[in-house]
């Protein structure tokens, strides 16, 4: 049996991306908490952040399918930066 504990779901410590943005999960950008003093950031458990991100991808995939039978790809990488920054 598993028991949910918010404390077990604390996200990792943020690392700075630029002056405005931090990252705690790969590819999930967050406003720098120092820039959220007027409206503090919600305390989200890790699973909820992951759920929201996954739902976003589901949503975009659904939209593609809704508008056309297929999406044509070029097979080309980004010419401004690598797709993966990892």
């Amino acid at each position: 049996m598993s028991i949910f504990r918010l404390g077990d779901q604390r996200p990792p410590e943020p690392r700075r991306i630029n002056d405005d943005v931090v990252m705690r999960f790969d590819h999930v950008y967050e406003v720098d908490p120092a820039k959220m003093q007027v409206f503090p950031q919600q305390d989200l458990p890790a699973w909820d952040t992951e759920r929201i991100v996954a739902a976003r991808w589901d949503h975009l995939a659904w939209m593609h399918d809704h508008f056309a039978d297929e999406v044509l790809s070029t097979g080309l990488e980004s010419e401004t930066m690598p797709e993966e920054d990892g």
Binding site: I17, N18, D20, V21, H27, V28, Y29, V31, K35, M36, Q37, V38, F39, H59, L60, A61, M63, H64, H66, F67, A68, D69, E70, V71, L72, S73, T74, G75, L76, E77, S78, E79, T80, M81, E83, D85
Partner: protein, 499 residues
């Protein structure tokens, strides 16, 4: 003279509707049918509430409600999804609000003559789910695609992301049933046909009844165009170091002659600065990405695939760099649903605060985009520094012509507004800012609104100026159709018709 909504009027409405649950005079039902997503004077919310909301289910019910309003000279305001980015559906003088959401049936799908006939309360996404098994599609695609309704699209004269390929709302409505401000039910289309795309009989009234912002009647049924469901979608985004490179490339793409081109969008430097703050696709982009072009195509694979190669060539011919499949496809998919985005902006000291979204929607020619962009941003920057409740979210230019992607653009400057800080002084500042932006559009031979409607302070007072000598014709039409000025009064300066 405006009559009050008293118990006797409510009793008459209940007798017409025949169902007390569809005649709503409680505060919550009225309050939730007051504002739209555009920045709203929240400190004066009560001044914009209707006195009662009714939810008819037939043209006959709408007709009787309108006849009652006309007899009593009570304002009547049509409202569909309430997702507009101006105030077409916002009551300015109370009265009866006609909410058409329950008129959401599909009356007929005609696969032979390629039409679908619907009530005004249906949403395009839900409609297309029902159309999909038949291999057809209704291609009206606003940024509010999952939540706006057909009736509102007709009332406001909507613009579609896919308009360069398939046309905009007014091009996609073949005919409609309309309840006039005096209560008559009329059929509006091409000549006398309900499923004809072109006629030269009589006068062409269809465009008069699309984009009137609810001031000439209430659409109760619409016959819409069906197109073959697209087999293939292609989206490509290109980054530029310089706005003018991107502007030139936009011109090249839109005059390429590719028939499957559904839309081209040009994002400026300010938009990139905004996206680099808060959008996952742009945060990691290098600083030399200062403008972006988005291109989208729809059609058969046999058309789209070779055309995509031309797009890739044109997009990179003048300094453009491809942003990659993941960003291109993901960003394009998100454009069908901008209302799902929680909006926040920045204060002068960089703090993130919730803001609502003003989306200027001028129609402007290609030639003037670079100069208008400079002047618009200068105006907004001045108000940001003076008031501290605004934020510049940058500028888009979308292809605006139906079936013709060249020549003119729906041009947005997106401005964040911290609504919680609104009071009379700050709201008046916003109205002045809005007016200055609109005046620039007129100075450059543009129109102040391509799709949202000039229905709010800051826009509305410029309508007579923009219309020029034809304003007299507009006023005569309004007065002839709505002799008592009951249909959505106070919008677009049409009160002048009664002076």
């Amino acid at each position: 003279m405006i009559a009050a909504i008293d118990d006797a009027v409510l009793d008459e409405l209940r007798a017409i509707i025949g169902d007390d649950d569809r005649v709503l005079d409680n505060v919550s039902s009225r309050a939730m049918r007051t504002r739209v997503p555009a920045p709203f004077p929240v400190h004066r919310w009560a001044q914009h509430m209707p006195d009662v909301a009714v939810l008819p289910v037939s043209a006959e019910e709408v007709s009787e409600v309108v006849k009652l309003a006309n007899r009593l000279k009570v304002p009547i305001v049509p409202r569909a999804g309430g997702t507009g980015l101006a105030d077409g559906a916002v009551p300015l003088r109370g009265g009866i609000l006609v909410d058409v959401k329950l008129m959401n049936r599909i009356h007929e799908i005609d696969l032979v003559d390629r039409t679908v006939t619907v009530g005004p309360g249906i949403n395009m996404l839900k409609l297309n789910e029902r159309l999909r098994p038949h291999g057809v599609f209704y291609p009206d695609d606003p940024a509010s695609y999952p939540c706006s309704l057909v009736g509102g699209r007709i009332g406001t004269g909507g613009w579609s992301l896919l308009g360069a390929r398939y046309g905009h709302t007014r091009d996609l409505v073949i005919s409609m049933e309309v309840v006039l401000p005096t209560g008559e039910i009329v059929q509006i289309g091409e000549g006398g046909g309900t499923k004809l795309r072109k006629s030269s009989t009589g006068l062409t009234l269809k465009h008069l009844f699309t984009g009137h912002q609810g001031t000439l009647g209430i659409c109760t049924r619409a016959t819409l165009e069906l197109v073959p469901r697209p087999e293939t979608e292609f989206a490509a985004f290109f980054a530029f170091r310089d706005y003018m490179e991107a502007w030139r490339t936009t011109g090249a793409l839109t005059t390429s002659g590719l028939a499957t081109l559904a839309g081209v969008v040009l994002f400026d430097e300010w938009k990139l600065r905004y996206l680099r703050r808060d959008d996952e696709a742009y945060i990691p982009q290098p600083q030399d990405v200062r403008a972006v072009i988005a291109v989208a195509m729809y059609g058969r694979r046999a058309e789209v695939e070779p055309a995509s190669r031309i797009v890739m060539e044109l997009g990179r011919a003048d300094g453009g760099r491809y942003l990659g499949d993941e960003i291109s496809q993901g960003d394009w998919a998100s454009r069908h649903d901008r209302y799902a985005t929680p909006l926040h902006g920045r204060t002068l000291d960089g703090q993130a605060v919730p803001m609502s979204w003003h989306c200027e929607d001028a129609a402007l020619n290609y030639s003037v985009l670079p100069q208008v962009r400079e002047e618009w941003h200068a105006i907004v920057d001045r108000y940001i520094r003076e008031y501290g409740i605004f934020d510049d979210w940058g500028m888009f230019a979308y292809t605006n012509g139906a079936y013709k992607p060249w020549g003119d653009y729906l041009v947005e400057i997106d401005v964040g507004i911290w609504e919680q800080r609104l009071d009379d002084a700050n709201w008046e500042a916003w109205v002045r800012c809005k007016r200055e932006i609109a005046e620039v559009s007129l100075k450059y031979g543009g129109s102040i609104t391509a799709c949202h409607g000039a229905t709010r302070e800051g826009d509305a007072e410029l309508v007579p100026t923009e219309m020029g000598a034809s304003w007299a014709v507009v006023k005569r039409i309004k007065r002839a159709l709505d002799p008592n000025n009951v249909m959505n009064p106070g919008k677009q300066m049409l009160d002048e018709a009664y002076e």
